[in-house]
């Protein structure tokens, strides 16, 4: 189904951002590109939606932001996971894994015997 893109579930973007930043500090564009590439462009999101999400996470204290320079010498705003952010990511990952396992178990099960 090449034309059917997945709608992003509510709250999923936050987890994706946290996961992306777990590799290290990154600017908004970097986060957006990383998500796009890693998900095989499966999710259709308006790229702009990323930025309010980033700032909300910053407000919650899960991210820290700082202006810095990119490799090419351009000024960009970099985000970094805080300790709280890391903790939250761990929790979210566990939740997601359980969710996915449970769903998979149901969706892939064969017809019950008898």
């Amino acid at each position: 189904m090449p034309d059917r893109s997945l709608e992003l579930l509510k709250g999923t973007l936050d987890v994706l951002i946290l996961k992306t930043l777990s590799w290290g500090p990154m600017h908004g564009y970097g986060v957006s590109r990383w998500i796009r590439e890693r998900t095989g462009e499966a999710f259709t999101i308006e790229e702009g939606a990323l930025y309010p999400a980033l700032r909300r996470l910053e407000k919650k204290g899960l991210l820290e932001a700082r202006w810095g320079e990119t490799d090419t010498g351009r000024e960009a705003k970099f985000y970094r996971l805080t300790d709280d952010g890391r903790d939250t990511l761990r929790t979210e990952v566990r939740t997601w894994s359980r969710y996915v396992e449970a769903m998979s178990a149901v969706l892939h099960s064969s017809q019950p015997a008898g």
Partner: protein
């Protein structure tokens, strides 16, 4: 997830340092640029790449706005956290600073505790008595209804009028009539003296309370001749009926009836006056007279009617009635007041006065602390100057100084609440009976809220001014001129003002309490007309069922008086129906033989020994003797006031009079009076006795007449035996108790002493006087401490100056005189202000005073003198230290 403030503490709100809008737009622009570049790298032409980048980005404007909004709210949260943080730091700093000078902190907290505690305690009384609604549903709609006489005074209500009111008044959900008496109740676990109230049909509806056990009386029980049924109070039920749930078959013998107990009212309900037993008033025939003011009336105003309209409605009904019965009805109208107003009425003024006095104490405490803080602040000026030079804004320093004051004030309030709690517990025990609802007294949330508000206001009052003044200190000056701050002069004049204010406030309080104390002495010095020393009292109630006839009653008292007289310690024993200072008793018309116009007098029934036991002098004639019984014609004693009124300039002895309608000893042969009363038998005056204060020590003597119990026993089923002894009458109680039991164990008795009744009659006066005096004493001590503190400090500050003066040859005496003159200057200004204030303030005391003018010169002069002496002493102690100053040492010290 953690709240933001714990996370971002210490970081600047705007991390980038740039304005939020710029921060957002730069970030978004960067994204679009990078995205376009990515597309160009993938082979797009630059134009289309830009467009594509914008397309996949979505709505630029809404993203931008949302980012700005989120960031703003984050900034706000951070700022809030910072403020809270700063306050916590200030608080810590304040606590440390107080701990560094524990002596100062302790004195300040005690000072504040006294000031705030006084206010909390008085407020809790005011709140309970004047503000808190009565414990009934929608209590604000409960009213007392009175008839008005021609002079506009409220009167009780005749039953016949009440019945018409109930039918005609439209403004009420219910109207209830009641009257009340203390009498004997049999049928409980033991004979009991209990307050018994006859109440009309809708009495309980007025209060909106349901019984906790059983039911209220039914309408069919509120008719003449119905089987009597009664309700009892919760307290009576527990004490006398063992709190049993099963009331079936339980009866009480009360008011000459055998009554079924049908219900128990909820705990705490005892209207009126702590009633234990309520019976339907309608079971007895009620007089049709419209001038027999025997009932009091309560009502519940309808929800949709204002009290003013209810009053108009009631007055209209009353006016119509008085027009319908012009011969009989003597009321000209009716009025009402809320039940709360009625209960609190007599204590309202003293309570508000005490609240004002407590406020004064707090003001004294505030001036005291303000001057101490100024003094401390001057010493701390270097510290403050250094802080300022290190970049602390003035606002910051003010805030920090004020936080110290607030901390002190809150600690003071806490200690004050402890004091108030103790005071309240004491008041509940010792409080005068006239203050209603003292049993409900306590530190509830309103008192706590009041205390919090007061303590914050207090902090503003004593802390803000010093904080403003001290923060003014010019940084450079303070550092340059060494320990002496540049604002020293300014502070000194501020101190003077504060000390003068303290003295003035204390003087007003002292004069107020001085006037009350003088009044109290005057009242206590009033000759009551009897001698309370060594007089014990035994209040007796003969149960009507056991003593149905006059002869039973006479026999009982004959036996009792004879047996008591045989007790060795007893000097004299007597009997009276109305004990002085416990109430005025019944009054009514007097018919003098051969005259048309009627007199008025108060009715008492006594024994012959009564006058001797009470030390009431016999002026003329003789008192009663055993032979004055039913076998001879009636005899009577009158007091001087009555004798003067009825027979001015004549000898009362041998005159004859009767009291129509007052008792059941009528003379059928004489027919009825024009008013419809049966004429009583004429009684011959055999003696004149001295006046006695019956209503109160401060009232005028009443016209009174006395019958002998042997001739009026029906009026004497409730009476008090008085016993004169050389020793302590309280010690006689066990003996008297056994005598009363021997004569008839069914008769309940209450024991007391005449001295107690005298004390109780001045209880309210003593209460106001004692509290005001405590407040005045606290104010006196506080202002003495204040003067002492300021003078000590000023001596310490001027040590160098004094040292120089002495080095230059000044005599220590001269130097001392300078300091003393300075200090006494403030005191004299304070005294002048205080005297002026007292003239204005004591006018409020006027109607609490007795034979003492509100501007009583001896009190004003004496109290001002006392305060001056105390101030002089408070000044002298520190001034004396100047003698010890060694010029060399003080000058080297700099």
């Amino acid at each position: 997830m953690n709240p933001p403030r714990t996370r971002v503490t210490g970081t600047r709100p705007d991390v980038s340092g740039r304005p939020i809008e710029e921060d957002v737009s730069q970030e978004l622009t960067f994204h679009l640029d990078m995205r376009a570049q990515e597309l160009i790298d993938a082979g797009w032409d630059p134009m289309s790449a830009r467009e594509e980048a914008r397309r996949v980005f979505g709505d630029m404007k809404s993203v931008n706005d949302e980012c700005v909004e989120v960031t703003r709210s984050r900034d706000r949260a951070i700022k809030r956290a910072h403020r809270l943080d700063a306050f916590q730091r200030d608080l810590k700093y304040a606590a440390r600073s107080l701990l560094r000078s524990p002596g100062f902190a302790a004195v300040a907290i005690v000072t504040l505790a006294l000031g705030i505690g006084a206010n909390s305690a008085i407020f809790s009384i005011v709140n309970t008595v004047l503000l808190r609604p009565l414990p009934y549903p929608d209590a604000d709609r409960l009213v007392r209804v009175h008839e008005l006489n021609r002079r506009g005074r409220p009167m009780n209500v005749p039953w016949a009028n009440f019945v018409d009111w109930r039918e005609q008044a439209r403004a009420f959900d219910a109207l209830g009539a009641f009257n009340t008496t203390v009498t004997t109740v049999l049928g409980g676990d033991r004979p009991a003296r209990a307050r018994v109230s006859g109440v009309s049909r809708e009495f309980f509806q007025v209060f909106g309370l349901a019984p906790v056990v059983g039911r209220t009386t039914l309408p069919e029980e509120h008719v003449e001749g119905a089987d009597p049924s009664v309700l009892v109070s919760h307290a009576f039920w527990e004490a006398e009926l063992g709190g049993t749930q099963d009331l079936s078959g339980r009866t009480l013998r009360v008011a000459g009836l055998n009554a079924r107990i049908v219900g128990v009212m909820p705990r705490g309900f005892g209207f009126p006056s702590g009633t234990d037993v309520w019976f339907p008033a309608e079971i007895f025939p009620q007089t049709p007279s419209r001038s027999a003011h025997n009932y009091r009336v309560v009502g519940r105003i309808r929800e949709d009617v204002t009290p003013a309209r209810a009053r108009d409605d009631m007055n209209g009904v009353a006016v119509r009635l008085s027009q319908s019965y012009p011969g009989d009805a003597d009321a000209v109208g009716a009025t009402l007041e809320t039940l709360q107003e009625e209960l609190a009425g007599p204590v309202r003024r003293p309570l508000l006065l005490l609240l004002g006095a407590a406020g004064f104490v707090l003001l004294v405490a505030c001036s005291n602390l303000a001057s101490t803080l100024l003094a401390r602040g001057t010493a701390r000026q270097r510290e403050l100057a250094i802080r300022a030079s290190l970049g602390a804004a003035r606002m910051r320093i003010i805030r920090q100084l004020f936080t110290e004051s607030l901390l002190l004030s809150l600690l003071g309030a806490l200690a004050g609440l402890v004091l108030a709690g103790i005071a309240i517990r004491t008041l509940v025990v010792l409080g005068p009976s006239a203050v209603p609802r003292l049993d409900e007294l306590g530190l509830d949330r309103w008192v706590l809220l009041f205390t919090l508000v007061v303590s914050v206001m207090t902090a503003v009052l004593f802390g803000l001014f010093p904080a403003l003044r001290l923060s003014e200190a010019q940084v450079g000056d303070a550092l340059r001129s060494g320990s002496r701050g540049s604002s020293d002069e300014g502070s000194r004049s501020a101190w003077k003002l504060l000390v003068s204010a303290e003295v003035a406030l204390a003087l007003v309080l002292l004069i107020g309490s001085g006037l009350l104390i003088r009044s109290f002495w005057t009242v206590m010095a009033v000759d009551p007309g009897f001698d309370p020393r060594g007089v014990g009292t035994v209040a007796l109630n003969l149960p009507g069922t056991e003593y149905p006839d006059d002869s039973n009653v006479v026999a009982y008292y004959d036996d009792l008086l004879a047996r008591v007289a045989r007790v060795p310690e007893v000097g004299t024993v007597g009997l009276t129906t109305v004990l002085p200072l416990t109430g005025v008793g019944a009054n009514g018309m007097i018919e003098v033989e051969g005259r048309d116009e009627l007199g008025m007098g108060f009715y008492r029934v006594v024994s012959g020994g009564y006058f001797k036991a009470m030390g009431i002098p016999l002026i003329r004639g003789r008192t009663f003797e055993d032979r004055d019984d039913v076998s001879v014609s009636d005899v009577i004693l009158v007091n001087e006031t009555l004798a003067d009124r009825l027979w001015p300039g004549e000898d009362a002895l041998g005159k004859r009079m009767s009291v129509p309608g007052m008792d059941a000893y009528s003379d059928p042969a004489r027919g009825l009076s024009p008013e419809g009363w049966p004429y009583n038998r004429l009684a011959t005056v055999i003696g004149v006795v001295a006046d006695v204060k019956h209503a109160s020590l401060t009232g005028d003597p009443l016209p009174e007449y006395y019958f002998h119990y042997k001739q009026r026993p029906a009026r004497a089923t409730s009476a008090v035996a008085v016993v004169k002894t050389a020793g302590d009458p309280a010690g006689l109680v066990p003996t008297l108790r056994s005598v009363v039991r021997q004569v008839d164990p069914q008769v309940p008795a209450a024991y007391g002493t005449m001295a107690q009744y005298v004390g109780r009659s001045v209880g309210d006066r003593r209460f106001t006087m004692a509290l005001l005096s405590v407040f005045a004493a606290v104010a006196l001590v506080l202002s003495a401490v204040g003067i002492y503190g300021v003078v000590s400090y000023s001596v310490a500050r001027r040590t160098r100056e004094i040292g120089i003066r002495m080095a230059l040859g000044a005599e220590p005496g001269g130097v001392r005189w300078v300091v003393l003159r300075d200090a006494m200057g403030m005191v004299v200004v304070g005294l002048a202000l205080g005297l002026a204030g007292a003239v204005a303030a004591t006018r409020l005391l006027q109607n609490l005073l007795f034979e003492v003018s509100a501007t009583d010169l001896p009190t004003f002069v004496g109290v001002a003198g006392l305060l001056a002496v105390v101030a002089l002493m408070a000044t002298w102690i520190p001034v004396r230290r100047t003698t010890g100053i060694d010029p060399m040492i003080t000058m080297q010290a700099e």
